[in-house]
Symmetry: C2
Subunit: 218 residues, 2 copies
């Protein structure tokens, strides 16, 4: 599939680019500047070639990357996510859009869930998307370090939600191409606050206990 | 230790009473009426004697049960929890109080986190407790069925939070007497909304996927 990562760097983007390139997907790295996007794309291409993989990765402005892709991953900090999507909205028609965005605040050594007024980052982003786009909330709790090591099997659960069943099926398939992630569909997009809220909890536990936790339902 | 379970029936109460009786603790079952509490106590005593355990279980009104115990478990539906604690407040001094209370609402087949205006049931309960009491938020996601089978090992995590370190240490010890529960301390009581919000997520997953999930951090 043609998959764009808007923002393109940061946290889970590297692991997703490496693993989906390995699976043969075509990647569109988006950034505010075309030049920066091409620079990031070149870095990923080099990394993959060292791993013996010949990737299809392109760098371009966010709006162009969104336009070219069937699945759009929002890899942007929470404070800029909705405004970036709004600025790309003319290039988004019926694509699947994936939000791993979580808004947190720090209180001492503890991170707390701090959603926008809409109740979740997913709801905030959904407001600025055209109604034909299909938003799926996913990938909030993937551990970036393990994800970027493409030989490492990931024995974690990915909880997703969204209002479009077909879109969730595509995201489930793309996710389960990454061994051994299991997708659990928790229902409509209204569930997103509860999924997003797990991230600050995990971050707080990781800081207190010096761990790199992810989550599993057993 | 002397442990009271206010409400005394419902969900996780049975498993806690059975397992803590097995470990030798003295249990005070509280209810609105002394008669009802003694009836519940008698049922638990019978169950434990069948298992070859000679328990120390007493039934009495909620306020008396709270007064007699060192650790108070709130086993009361969310809509009555704070008012019940408020009515017992004269009998609560420096006890450890444990809240597994979660407020949810149902939307179709999905459960959503629906906290009181204080942001969490823990915060709502903390408002009505005397300042000398030590509130710990815990036990939101224990699967009641497995807990009540006292030979079943529970390979789950119990995430707790609270502002009193000594109280959390006591709750950790009591919890880890139940094999093989692991306690993860996520920090101050402010973390409680994020722990409470996991419950409706698990309930929704259980309904959709016909599972009896609990949670583990890996």
């Amino acid at each position: 599939m043609k998959i764009s990562l808007l923002g393109g760097t940061g946290d889970i983007a590297e692991g997703l680019v490496l693993r989906w390139s390995q699976a043969g997907h075509e990647i569109y790295i988006g950034s505010r500047s075309e030049e920066k996007a091409q620079g990031i794309a070149a870095e990923y291409i080099e990394k993959l070639k060292e791993l013996g993989i010949e990737p299809k990765i392109h760098g371009m402005e966010n709006a162009q990357a969104a336009k070219h892709s069937e699945v759009i991953i929002i890899s942007i900090p929470p404070e800029y996510a909705a405004s970036t999507i709004k600025a790309c909205a003319d290039n988004i028609t019926d694509q699947i859009v994936v939000t791993p965005v979580v808004s947190m605040k720090k209180e001492g050594k503890t991170f707390l869930f701090d959603p926008p007024s809409q109740g979740s980052s997913a709801a905030e982003i959904n407001e600025v998307l055209p109604s034909t786009a299909k938003l799926v909330s996913a990938y909030h709790n993937l551990p970036a370090t393990g994800l970027a090591k493409i030989d490492e099997e990931l024995d974690y659960d990915v909880v997703i939600c969204g209002d479009d069943e077909d879109a969730k099926a595509v995201v489930t398939k793309l996710t389960e191409e990454m061994k051994n992630l299991r997708v659990l569909d928790a229902g409509p997009l209204d569930v997103s606050p509860m999924i997003e809220a797990i991230t600050p909890l995990i971050v707080s536990l990781n800081i207190r206990l010096k761990k790199h936790f992810s989550i599993k339902f057993v």
